[in-house]
Each structure stands twice: as structure tokens, then as C-alpha cells.
Amino acid sequence: MNTPGLRASAAALLARDLRLVWRRRGDALQPALFALLVVVLFALAAGGERESLSRHAAAVLWLAVLLAGLLALDSLFRGDAEDGSLEQWLLAPVPLPWLVAVRVFGHWLTTSLPLLVAVPFLGELLFLPHAQLPVLMLSLLLGTPLLGLLGAVVAALTVGMRRAGILVALLALPLYVPVLVFGAGSVAAAAQGLDAGGALLLLGAGLAISLVLAPLAAAAALRIAHN
């Protein structure tokens, strides 16, 4: 008998997800384009003055990243639920939380990472002070996987529903609020010359906890939604 280990199944799942994204390269750019849209619209609405844009740049970028992630959330498990792949996940000899964790990581890799790469350019559009960029990137690097893990629980809960778009957003937003507060707050603190370490450490702690608990919760939700 040749049963796959944790590493082999993770490699198979990641390879599959990356291939799928490569086949649909246009879709992969959507979150970054959406973030660009938010940034441009904000700049237009705010009047394009350098001072006022610069003051809100970090907060707007955080919000743009969060909303773009929210937009991509519904696709996390839906495709796999609709074509029966999820059934095969449930039957696989590896634990479901492990597959969920790998799937969330693959999703982060293909939706959030391009976004993070785009953030410095979007920052230029908003005259983001260059001194704030390192803290902003660090907070996003900690915050986006955390958002993905929290979102996975919500996406798993709603996977049984046919059209769950706005419901996913409504359920996810309360979970996202603390992440946004500490994420944008860390940059704001750094901008005022205060220590951003506290907020970043809290983000890191949240990430550590949700790394362990969110896949378990999402796996349980998937089982319930599937019944």
C-alpha cells in the first residue's frame, strides 16, 4: 500500500492550485486590479491634494487590500465543492484541516502575494511617505495570511449555499475589523513616531493562533456544510 504523507498531499494540492491559476492568469490579476480601482477612486474623491492623500495613504492601502481579499474569498472552496473535489478531500487519508491549511496557503500565494507586490506602486499613487512603507509591508505580510485564515472559516461555512457573495462579506467583516485596526494602526503609530511593535506583535500572535485553530474550524465547517 502506498498512502501519501502530509508533504506529498500538500505538494500535489499546491501544484494543482498553481497550475489552475496559471491556466487562468487573467483572473489572478483581479485582486490587484480591484485594489488599484479603490486607490484611484479614493484619490479622485479626495481631490488629489498631496498632503491629504499622503496622510490617509496607509489606511486606504490597508482597506484596499482587505476588500480585494474579501472579493476573492468566495472562490476559496466553491469550485472544489461544486465539482466534487471536496468529497475526495473528505475521503483522503490525510487530515482535512491539513488540506484546508494548504489550500489557504495556495490561495494567499496566488491572490494576496501579487497584491503585496503591487502595494509599493499603489503607495506611490497616494504619495505614501517612504518611511511608512516598511511598517506597512510588514503589517500586510502578517495581516493578509491572518485575513485569509479567518476568511477560510467563513468561506467554509457558506460553501453549501449557492450564492453567498454578500453573506460572506457580512460574516467576515466583524472578524476582519480587529485585523484592520491593528494593521492600519501599526502604520499610523509609526507615522507619529510611536513604536509600532505592539500592534505588529498582536497581529503576529493572531496569525499564530489562527494558523492552528482556523484550519480546524474551517474543516469542521466544511464537514457540516457538506452534510
Binding site: 498531499s9 489552475l20 466534487g84 468529497e87 488540506l99
Partner: protein
């Protein structure tokens, strides 16, 4: 159970019942499936054939009863090592090629070391379709691809839900040949069908689900 039985049955079901919203769907059922044996689950639409297979696979929780696999209580570990499930949904990614789909499913479920993916494709009559995207395959070809996954799977117990659907005569013969070969190697299979028009030429027993009793 016969007193002479020394090897435990591959699948042993006692008092298995399932209800949806307090409405009984089937059961209580009791049957054994020995290695080298196929159980044909028959019944009209809506008599719970698919539900029975999903309960046995562990996708649904039974209302009552006991399922034992190779003599041990059927938990997730025992099921994942012993059961290969072919459902209505093909579990194929439309944007991946046939070969990539098969490779992923083998990575997830494991494969017999002596069986190769290209051999499996040839076995089910899909040689030369390796690079075809799953979205370009017909329903019958998708079913054949799922059969290739079963052929590669190390699991001894096959749960086949309507394996003959969408297949041509040649495909029906293929299912029968695969099931026969699997049974000859000591495996077992549960097969649901509407009628007996396409039963594998092997030692089969029938489970009629309308009145839920086993005829030997």
C-alpha cells in the same frame, strides 16, 4: 455470519439506518461484503442508493447502526485506507489536463506503486488524451477518467455510484472488466444500478432497497 469465517468481511454492516429531517431514507440494513464479492445495490430512484454509499464512504453520518471495515470500527483512517468512492460528481478540474487531474488525485489518495498513470489511461481507453483538458472530455470520457483513478487506487473496497451512467456499451464492458479484475485480486465492490442490465460477471449479491432486504 458463517461460523467458519476466519477472515473478517471487508465490509460488515449491522442495523444501519439513515434519516433526513426525521424522515427515514433507508434501513435498518444488515449485510456483509466478503473479499472477492460484489454487492449490487438496486432500487428505484429515491430509494436511498446514493445515500447508502455516501454513508458507507463516511460523507454522511448514519442515524444508527454499525459499519465495520476488515473487522475494525470504520473511522476516518480505516475508511480512507480501504475505500475508493466514485460518486456522481467527477472531482475533475475543468482547466487541467486529464493526466494532471489523475496525478493530483493520486497525490491525494495514494496509488499502487506498480501501476502507472499512463498505463491507467490506456486501460480505460483514454490513451492519447493525456493533454486534453477535462472540460473538453465528454461525460463518458470523464467517467472513464474516474475509473482510471479507481484502478490506480490502493483501496480494496470500491463504492461505485451508478458507474454505468453515461457510458457506451464498450464502457459498460470496461466497468465489468475492471470490477472483475479487482474482485479477482481480493477486492470487493458495491455497485448501484437502476436495473440488472449491466451486472459484472462475478459473484454478486443483491441488495434491493425498496424493501431493504438482502437476497443471497
Amino acid at each position: 455470519m458463517p461460523a467458519s469465517a476466519t477472515i473478517p468481511a471487508l465490509l460488515s454492516v449491522r442495523g444501519l439506518a439513515f434519516a433526513r429531517n426525521e424522515q427515514p431514507v433507508f434501513g435498518p440494513l444488515a449485510f456483509d461484503v466478503e473479499p472477492g464479492e460484489a454487492l449490487l445495490v438496486q432500487g428505484d430512484n429515491g430509494t436511498g442508493k446514493t445515500t447508502l454509499l455516501r454513508v458507507l464512504a463516511g460523507l454522511l453520518r448514519a442515524e444508527a447502526g454499525e459499519v465495520r471495515i476488515s473487522g475494525t470500527e470504520a473511522d476516518h483512517g480505516a475508511r480512507s485506507r480501504h475505500v475508493a468512492y466514485l460518486g456522481h460528481l467527477p472531482a475533475l478540474k475543468a482547466d487541467l489536463s486529464a493526466e494532471q487531474n489523475l496525478r493530483f488525485l493520486c497525490g491525494l489518495h495514494g496509488a499502487r506503486p506498480e501501476r502507472r498513470i499512463d498505463a491507467a489511461m490506456a486501460r480505460v481507453g483514454l490513451a492519447g488524451h493525456d493533454d486534453a483538458l477535462a472540460r473538453q472530455l465528454s461525460a463518458g470520457q470523464k467517467k472513464r477518467l474516474s475509473l482510471a483513478r479507481l484502478w490506480l487506487s490502493p483501496a480494496p473496497l470500491w463504492l461505485l455510484d451508478e458507474p454505468y451512467a453515461n457510458l457506451d456499451l464498450d464502457g459498460i464492458a470496461l466497468v465489468n472488466a475492471l470490477v472483475s479484475e479487482h474482485l479477482a485480486e481480493g477486492g470487493a465492490a458495491l455497485v448501484t444500478t437502476h436495473g440488472a442490465y449491466a451486472a459484472p460477471p462475478v459473484r454478486t449479491r443483491m441488495l434491493q432497497l425498496s424493501n431493504a432486504r438482502v437476497d443471497a
